[in-house]
């Protein structure tokens, strides 16, 4: 699991135009220009990263989990998956992946869903939706704009019977996923604070985000 799944796309880290460590439990966002690649690195392993994408020119166009799965014909996000908008356009694609499987059906954790899943006392724990609301507010967006998100490094097998389980993350320290933008997008992350299920190994940890410009001959 240490070698990139797609070595030809593996950029030289010294050429990155941006590098930032997102602390455990915190949000992050940035506009990715068309052609730029965002690398999300699971620095310590078993850390779920919730993500939403909005078209930078018109944020009413945004990532759609159901459109993405319909176009792909299968239930998991992996190398090559095209991330489709609610207007049917390709917003970005998975250009490299050393983890192997990511979820987009389980949504994000919220204080309110934690309270029904794990007991009312867990309502007062930080949650991804709190992160999304705060980070989206920086872009003029609100809770209305939160749709079903991507969950990078989150392992949610769905059985033919429909049985649906968040199980232990399979990502090792240093595993990463590369997302290349096919249009200018606002990329929003919540570094998941959930401590009540195995998505973060019951211990939320930091992640690193890096951005590369497209190779000169492509632009």
């Amino acid at each position: 699991m240490t070698s990139p799944a797609n070595p030809s796309s593996n950029p030289d880290s010294s050429n990155a135009v941006y590098c930032h460590d997102v602390p455990a439990e915190r949000p992050w966002s940035r506009v990715l220009k068309q052609g730029q690649t965002l690398r999300i690195i699971d620095s310590e392993g078993q850390q779920a990263v919730d993500a939403l994408l909005y078209c930078a020119d018109d944020p009413t166009e945004r990532y759609s989990a159901q459109d993405t799965l319909r176009v792909q014909g299968s239930a998991y996000v992996e190398l090559g998956t095209r991330l489709i908008s609610n207007r049917g356009r390709v917003m970005a694609h998975i250009a490299a992946d050393t983890c192997g499987r990511h979820d987009t059906s389980a949504g994000c954790c919220s204080c309110e869903s934690n309270a029904i899943r794990f007991g009312e006392e867990t309502k007062y724990q930080h949650a991804c939706r709190e992160n999304f609301i705060l980070e989206l507010s920086r872009h003029g967006l609100t809770k209305r704009d939160i749709v079903a998100n991507l969950n990078f490094f989150m392992n949610v097998p769905i059985e033919s019977s429909g049985k649906f389980t968040v199980v232990d993350g399979i990502s090792a320290p240093g595993n990463y996923v590369d997302v290349t933008a096919d249009m200018d997008v606002i990329f929003v992350i919540s570094n998941c604070p959930q401590v009540n299920n195995p998505c973060n190994g019951f211990n939320p940890t930091p992640i690193r985000v890096m951005i590369w410009d497209p190779p000169a001959d492509v632009t």
Binding site: Q66, S74, A106, S113, F164, T165, V195, N196
Partner: protein
């Protein structure tokens, strides 16, 4: 060191609780679910009907339901699939949430006895009658692109139906969440690829959805994008808004699991 041990102990306790919930949610709960409704079961008395409408193929209807009322959706021909979204009438930022519905019930498959949740940790609709038991929460409805791919030209589709319906009540593209599609027998193979089980569809299949809040619902009668028979003209559907008796103490939908019991407690507080 004490702190580290405490953190470790908390993590271990949280894992134990998770495994207990998982065992209950995936082993006990499914065994307690009611049998499917018979095709000729659960007749509606004429005096209980509030309104009735037949929606032609390709079209949509917007229905307001008061808490405690029910919506029957009937697939008259056995060729339709019906996609549904909705909002809480008093605060439309609260809306149907497929991800929480699936996650909280430990199941991407819903059938009689299950519920559909809002994004605020409350129960939106209860599936109080269901003859079919084959509904989709993962793939969603048809779109301009999916109809172009299927028919070579854009035809009426669920995404544009939802946009039109939302616009007529002052909402927009921003307010359209992922949908549930009834009478859409989607399952997965071992690799996660979607499959369509045509044998699960029959003429006259119906569901009764009990509103657990005051709701505005939109139903769209367009073929599901995975339905291989989609080029055949789907038939009309019938939607009936009707009054039903209040839920009993042992109502099957309210008692399936500790998670759902809590979700109803929080929902009831809205109207206490």
């Amino acid at each position: 060191m004490t702190t580290a041990q405490t953190k470790q102990e908390i993590a271990e306790a949280n894992r134990r609780r998770y495994e207990q919930l998982r065992a209950a949610g995936q082993d006990l709960t499914p065994k307690g679910l009611p049998e499917a409704t018979a095709l000729d079961g659960a007749p509606i008395a004429s005096e209980a009907v509030v309104s009735r409408e037949q929606v032609p193929a390709g079209w949509y209807a917007t229905v307001r339901l008061r808490r405690g009322e029910a919506l029957r959706i009937v697939d008259d021909s056995g060729r339709s699939s019906v996609s549904l979204i909705g909002w809480r009438e008093e605060d439309t930022s609260e809306r149907i949430n497929c991800a929480d519905t699936v996650k909280v019930q430990w199941s991407a498959a819903i059938s009689k006895g299950r519920v559909i949740l809002s994004d605020m940790g409350r129960v939106f609709l209860s599936l109080v009658e269901d003859t079919c038991g084959a509904h989709d929460l993962l793939v969603g409805g048809s779109t301009p692109a999916s109809t172009r791919a299927a028919y070579g030209a854009t035809s009426r589709n669920t995404q544009e139906n939802f946009l039109s319906a939302a616009a007529k009540i002052g909402l927009s593209l921003r307010d359209i969440p992922p949908c549930v599609t009834f009478f859409a027998p989607v399952s997965l193979d071992a690799k996660g690829r979607f499959l369509w089980n045509s044998s699960r569809k029959r003429a006259g299949d119906f569901v009764d959805l009990r509103a657990e809040m005051n709701l505005v619902l939109v139903v769209s009668n367009c073929s599901h994008p995975l339905d291989p028979a989609r080029s055949a003209s789907p038939g009309p559907i019938t939607v009936i808004r009707h009054r039903i008796p209040p839920p009993a103490q042992d109502d099957p939908c309210r008692t399936t699991s500790p998670e759902i019991v809590r979700a109803f407690e929080f929902t009831d507080r809205l109207y206490a």
